[in-house]
């Protein structure tokens, strides 16, 4: 359907359809973020022998996040007097817009996806890099030492971990022969890449947690050292935008992990009577759960250890993985 739309002549109706679909996706993502945060808090509570949210919206705390968002909406919007005003206002927008843009190429099932472009994988990596500029800008514009340190850490961390992230995916690209996410899913019809590329999967998981700025790599916003890092001066809805972009990236990263390593919407043999969307949802939820699990169980790294780990461990291992994959592929091709 989207493909026909893309090839048709531009008109107000087309614009309306696009706009409507994008708004629909935005609401789906907002719904995910609302209940993603709730489930994260519930899982954290379960792992730390607490109950978690249990007051608003019945026994399960189902309206807790809704109430939190409402609180953020009616909070006073403060802009520090000495802040760099235009950049301070622009920064949350720069941070959030790419987070929503990356969702455009992600294939959820073979029918439900927005754009099928040849370089989908690179698109994700490139666009998500723009968010870093938003974070660095926020840190700078707040005119606060904690924010600036947080912004600097974010820049250093994101540049360092983007490289192993991309390098770990080269193995998959070698095996598939394409950067198109649909082709990558199609190549996993028989065997998922998590079994063919286990090293790449581990590197990808570590680097993706670092890219998401989550514990144990949450140095840009380490609350015990930097108060709240780059968004310490933000309040109300501007702050909500940073939070939102973080969770939308989590959604996107869990989707990407599913698509790249867990076979996307492909089913396990003999169980293919279950619809594709459900398979996707199951795998997605599993990845989401692992991300929360990592957050609850690991302590935060020190800044210098973080850099050393990225450059001296992850990058060489990722390069070795590329080399190994290429050799094995050639040997298999010989027979």
């Amino acid at each position: 359907m989207i493909k026909d739309l893309l090839h048709s002549a531009p008109s107000l109706l087309n614009f309306g359809i696009y706009f409507g679909l994008a708004v629909l996706l935005l609401f789906v993502v907002l719904g995910f973020v609302t209940y993603g945060i709730l489930s994260e808090r519930k899982i954290m509570g379960f792992m730390q022998l607490r109950i978690g949210p249990n007051q608003i919206g019945g026994k399960w705390g189902l309206l807790q996040t809704v109430a939190d968002v409402l609180k953020l909406l009616i909070k006073e919007d403060t802009i520090p007097k000495k802040a760099d005003r235009p950049l301070y206002i622009l920064a949350p927008v720069i941070a959030f817009a790419p987070a929503f843009m990356v969702l455009a190429t992600l294939p959820f099932t073979d029918a439900f996806q927005f754009a099928d472009i040849g370089v989908g994988l690179l698109y994700y990596v490139a666009i998500s890099g723009i968010s870093t500029i938003g974070i660095v800008t926020a840190g700078w514009a707040s005119n606060n030492k904690y924010s600036l340190i947080g912004g600097m850490r974010a820049a250093a961390q994101m540049i360092s971990y983007e490289i192993p992230l991309v390098m770990s995916l080269v193995g998959i690209v070698l095996l598939t022969g394409s950067l198109n996410l649909n082709d990558i899913v199609a190549a996993q019809e028989k065997v998922w890449f998590i079994f063919l590329q286990p090293i790449a999967f581990i590197i990808f998981m570590i680097a993706s947690v670092a890219e998401l700025n989550r514990v144990p790599f949450d140095l840009p916003e380490a609350e015990s050292e930097l108060v709240a890092g780059y968004h310490v001066e933000y309040s109300g809805f501007r702050w909500a935008f940073f939070m939102l972009s973080e969770y939308v990236y989590m959604f996107a990263m869990a989707t990407l992990t599913t698509v790249l390593f867990l076979g996307g919407w492909n089913s396990i043999p003999f169980l293919d009577f279950i619809p594709q969307a459900i398979w996707f949802g199951l795998k997605f939820s599993a990845v989401f759960y692992i991300l929360v699990w990592i957050r609850v169980t690991f302590p935060r790294l020190r800044a210098d250890q973080l850099m050393e780990f990225g450059w001296k461990v992850l990058l060489p291992v990722a390069l070795a993985n590329i080399f190994l994959t290429a050799i094995i592929k050639e040997i298999v091709n010989l027979f």
Binding site: A9, P10, D84, P86, L87, L90, I94, I117, G118, V119, L122, Y123, V125, A126, I127, G129, I130, T132, I133, V136, T137, W140, L148, G151, M152, A155, A156, M158, I159, E162, L179
Partner: protein, 172 residues
């Protein structure tokens, strides 16, 4: 010339690109300039996309607006610098500058207006990532390898320079 979606997109992107460039010159704070530059880079990537050069567009975003800008911001924020640039000089100099710019604009306009590019159908837009890869590793393999050696030399040089600074810092 009929109005198509492509034309509208092109005008939007071109406007943002030029606006970013103008802001880059007129703004006074260095960090603001870099942000303006990001918008120029992004809209140029958009123009590449319109020309169906998707690989180049993505690499443009990845390298220029992602990596290079962040390194620039990093450098600006870590070093001391004057908050504002000095104001431009006035008087006759400005007038001649305007004249020179106008002359340049006229020359470029005439040049482009009379330019006639023969159009021939090509298949360059189909799977251009694959085509770039094949060209790079068959026809241009030697320049490609020389390039990598050059980058390696730059990398080693940077490490040597950084290391030297460190040792001097220890002694003092």
């Amino acid at each position: 010339m009929s109005v198509s979606g492509e034309l509208i997109a092109f005008f939007g992107l071109a406007l943002v690109a030029i606006l970013g460039g103008v802001l880059l010159i007129t703004l006074t704070k260095v960090v603001h300039m870099v942000i303006a530059l990001v918008f120029t880079f992004l809209s140029i990537a958009g123009i590449y996309l319109l020309l169906s050069a998707e690989f180049v567009a993505i690499v443009q975003i990845l390298i220029y607006s992602g990596a290079i800008t962040i390194v620039m911001l990093f450098g600006i924020m870590l070093t001391k610098h004057r908050e504002n640039d000095e104001p431009a000089k006035g008087g006759w100099q400005r007038f001649f500058l305007l004249l020179a710019i106008a002359g340049f604009a006229v020359a470029v306009y005439l040049g482009i207006y009379n330019l006639d590019i023969p159009v021939q159908p090509t298949a360059l837009h189909e799977e251009n990532t694959k085509q770039i890869g094949i060209e790079l590793f068959s026809k241009y393999v030697i320049p490609f390898e020389v390039m990598s050696v050059l980058l390696l030399v730059a990398l080693v040089g940077a490490i040597v320079l950084a290391k030297k600074d460190d040792e001097e810092g220890d002694r003092s």
